[in-house]
Symmetry: C2
Subunit: 325 residues, 2 copies
């Protein structure tokens, strides 16, 4: 660690979610020294949201010795654009759904420290590189399997933002060009429509209606089945639920094989709720990848589960952007 890190040993991370905004003050090893949270919604104007944030932050900033101890702030937010520090047309934010919100500049002005912002999957990638399983890696891809499928791509040690700040939307590569499932983006056949939490629940419902396979899930109202129910059933050895994981892993492996042809990463790192199924999902991914990838890439890539602690992973990821400024 250099002398600046000694003088300013902390960064602030903000995980800006649809429901909660969680703040953490983090040291260079990824230890969270103090944390606080506010509701994300319930503010009509972004100014009110920033006021409430700064008020909550002030308490934990004082706890670690004041703003002089803090190098920078990083924000992970939906529709976050790194180049401009803005949140753009975020559909789920009451104060951000119909315009471009210069959130990084607003926090910078109020706190007097540098502030950077990116989307949550990119924050996860920087987090893995700074504190997680990608330490020392220069080429890797993080796939976040949650409500949607997000991605953060690192090439030559740098996050890929592309020409407009929106690169790394691997949840929206097309995996089924014929009869593909409809996706939230308005198109059909996207990876996200199959391999997100909602995609997994949908796969379970499809298998329940198209096969006769006995399953614990048949006792439930099909419309109410979630990916968590599939996970619980799979944990009990339920064949239909295991088949859902096998199909999901198979498609993720096919997708990663195409991603290898693009950037030949050292590792694929998986993050999010689905990954809690462990080998039930990771083994099908690896098998499918090795079966589908171009011969020159066979056996080279690692398949890893996120090294960031689940509960605080998003805050750690966001904070890590602060070190990059």
């Amino acid at each position: 660690m250099n002398s600046e890190t000694t003088l300013k040993p902390y960064v602030i991370g903000l995980d800006l979610g649809g429901t909660n905004s969680v703040f953490g003050i983090v040291d260079s090893r990824g230890d969270i020294k103090a944390t606080t949270a506010i509701k994300t919604q319930g503010y009509e104007r972004v100014e009110d949201y920033v006021n409430a944030s700064v008020e909550a932050l002030q308490v934990i900033i004082d706890q670690v010795g004041g703003i002089d101890k803090i190098k920078a702030m990083g924000i992970g937010a939906p529709n976050g654009n790194y180049y401009t520090g803005t949140i753009e047309f975020a559909p789920n934010l009451s104060w951000g759904h119909n315009g471009v919100v210069p959130l990084a500049d607003m926090f910078k002005e109020r706190l007097g420290i540098p502030v950077a912002l990116t989307n949550d999957a990119n924050a996860a990638a920087i987090g893995e590189m700074t504190y997680g399983v990608a330490r020392g890696m220069k080429n890797f891809i993080v796939l976040t399997l949650g409500t949607g499928v997000g991605s953060g791509i690192v090439i030559n040690g740098q996050l890929v933002y592309g020409c407009d700040g929106f690169a790394g939307e691997l949840g929206h590569v097309i995996m089924r060009r014929e009869n593909g499932r409809s996706c939230g983006c308005g198109r059909n056949g996207c990876l996200e429509a199959y391999c997100s939490a909602t995609g997994v629940a949908r796969s379970a419902r499809e298998l329940l209606s198209t096969t006769e396979k006995p399953s614990l899930l048949r006792e439930m109202d099909p419309e109410k089945i979630t990916s968590l129910d599939v996970s619980i059933a799979a944990g009990k050895g339920d064949e239909l639920a295991l088949e859902v994981y096998r199909l999901t892993g198979e498609m993720l492996g096919e997708a990663c094989a195409d991603f290898a042809a693009f950037s030949s990463p050292e590792a694929f790192i998986f993050f999010g709720g689905l990954v809690k199924a462990g080998d039930l999902i990771m083994n099908p991914i690896k098998e499918s990848y090795e079966k589908n990838v171009l011969p020159i890439f066979k056996g080279k890539a690692k398949f890893l589960v996120s090294g960031l602690d689940g509960a605080s992973a998003a805050v750690l990821g966001a904070s890590a952007i602060g070190w990059e400024i």
Copy 2:
């Protein structure tokens, strides 16, 4: 240009093809000052190939004022690995098909200047950035449509080599997961199986046998139809040939839409024989891209034809690697 460029104003480019090896001495504006060539094949040992190369090179090196005027050498070669400067298991090279040939080091030792090597599509990308239509661009993708489909990807102003030097094999992303055409790589459904010169000829043969459409191509032996024949027929307004271009462009547009989700490039640049068809191929590519790409990327990317002069493009591309060392 800096003072080193003034003292050493030239680089050597070597376009190492399956048949010919073409050398050029190039200045910083992309003007070729001298050129020579030898046969690539006909040497049993790589040492003999390098000897013949150096002998031919010496003549043109003397023409420009001697080796002291030359900064470096760049080589574009099939299966070239930038990281190691080696050609690895190149199936079409008599002296390079069954092992790893340290060609960059061999030339470096003989000429006493730095030598770098990469594959031909990567060389084309560096060439476009140095002398062509990508000057000033930091994020773009070059697709070479020739015997195969190759690619060179530039992100943040750097060529993407990946963890092993083999990134950028976009000809081998899978476009048809069911009933895909067999590809030279041993898999099925690759972009290359449809959008290379051989893929285009194959599409023509398929349409001739599966439709009743009248066509000039029906006068030929189907097995002898080449992409050049399709191009000539299309130029005459032949409907079947135009349909082949439409289908080819449609798939290229779909592929580029997926590539945008990866790296959101400022431009896609097309290079190679097929591009000579001009709007007949470029318009279907653009239309298909805009129809298929994720909404946030719509209308952003440029679709360009290579800015390098056809005959010398490969030598220029190879030489451009020399400036990067």
